[in-house]
């Protein structure tokens, strides 16, 4: 609701409302874009390009039936463009490097980095479904809309991703030992 209000403010007040929109959603958008770009710089560039797209025509965001999925889709498209330009980094490099520096990190942070590293090892198509499903609490139908795939495809990508992640994270969670 708040995001929709921000989108409408952007239409009414113009660029003056950009700051609030940024504060509201930038970290989440960067987190999502990182599942595709695998590094924060590219994710932030995708965020900037996405905001430029929105500023170019704020009506599209304000009139979107679901503004938040629309915004995610815009940033996703920009992240893919950047990936195509930069011929993407090998999968998992950024997450691995973050995890490798966490020797002296507290246990929770270590777990966090391990999980992120594991997510980084997934194919981007599966990683972004995981991000949208778990971090953005979206339904498979909404995910399908963003990714331009059917909700069944989104669900199966999620299932495959979860299987891989369970294997990768087996050491971290004792319950996950019951993998069939």
């Amino acid at each position: 609701m708040r995001f929709r209000r921000c989108a409408e403010d952007l239409l009414m007040q113009g660029v003056a409302a950009l700051g609030e929109l940024h504060d509201l959603c930038a970290p989440r958008l960067v987190r999502y874009a990182m599942t595709l770009s695998r590094n924060q710089q590219d994710a932030e560039d995708a965020l900037q390009a996405g905001f430029v797209q929105i500023a170019r025509d704020p009506r599209k965001l304000a009139n979107a039936r679901q503004p938040w999925p629309y915004m995610l889709k815009v940033v996703r498209n920009e992240a893919i463009k950047i990936l195509r330009k930069s011929r993407s980094l090998p999968l998992g490099d950024e997450f691995d490097s973050v995890a490798a520096t966490s020797d002296e990190a507290p246990p929770e942070l270590e777990v966090t980095e391990s999980v992120r590293s594991a997510v980084g090892k997934l194919p981007p198509a599966q990683a972004e479904v995981v991000a949208l499903k778990i971090w953005e609490n979206m339904t498979f139908a909404e995910i399908g809309t963003i990714l331009d795939v059917s909700h069944n495809t989104a669900a199966s990508r999620y299932r495959y991703a979860l299987e891989k992640l369970t294997q990768l994270l087996r050491d971290l969670s004792p319950e996950a030992d019951h993998v069939v």
Binding site: G14, V15, L18, G19, H22, D23, A26, P27, R28, V30, R31, M34, Q40, Q41, A43, E44, L47, Q48, F51, V52, I54, A55, R56, D57, E108, V111, T112, E113, S114, V115, R116, V119, V130, A131, I134, W135, L162, E163, L165, T166, L169, L172, S173, E175, A176, D177, H178, V179, V180
Partner: protein, 138 residues
């Protein structure tokens, strides 16, 4: 995969889902780029509107010019042609052949037998003279 395992995996991923710390100056950079783009778009829109208004005015000017100088209505044209043909038939004046529009008008005006038609045609401007000549030759 067991339900417990996937549930635990989801829990771990959810717990690791904290948002990254954004780079310093990103906010300013994003907003500045967006504002710049918006300004450029608005300038282009204004220019497009100006061009559209100019085009409309030009079209309106041409339209008004046409309306005031051309007989747009078909019945009016037919009537004029009929009158001219009648004049052409009635007058045997040598001034008709090869003369220019004012000459034709003068010749028609001189013709007593077609005076009614001449009255209708005498307010003709140059284009009417041309039409007259075309009608007479055809």
């Amino acid at each position: 995969m067991s339900y417990d395992a996937s549930f635990e995996t989801e829990r771990l991923i959810r717990a690791a889902g904290r948002c990254p710390e954004l780079s310093a100056g990103l906010r300013e950079r994003v907003i500045a780029a967006s504002v710049r783009t918006r300004t450029r778009v608005e300038r282009r829109l204004r220019w497009d509107h100006t061009l559209a208004v100019c085009g409309l005015l030009l079209w309106l000017g041409i339209f008004i010019h046409q309306v005031t100088t051309f007989p747009l209505g078909l019945p009016r044209q037919r009537e004029f042609r009929r009158q001219v043909v009648a004049v052409g038939r009635l007058t045997e004046d040598p001034f008709f052949s090869g003369s220019d529009a004012p000459g034709i008008a003068t010749a028609i005006r001189k013709s007593n037998s077609a005076w009614a038609c001449v009255e209708a045609a005498s307010d003709s401007r140059l284009w009417k003279g041309r039409l007259l000549r075309r009608c007479l030759s055809g």
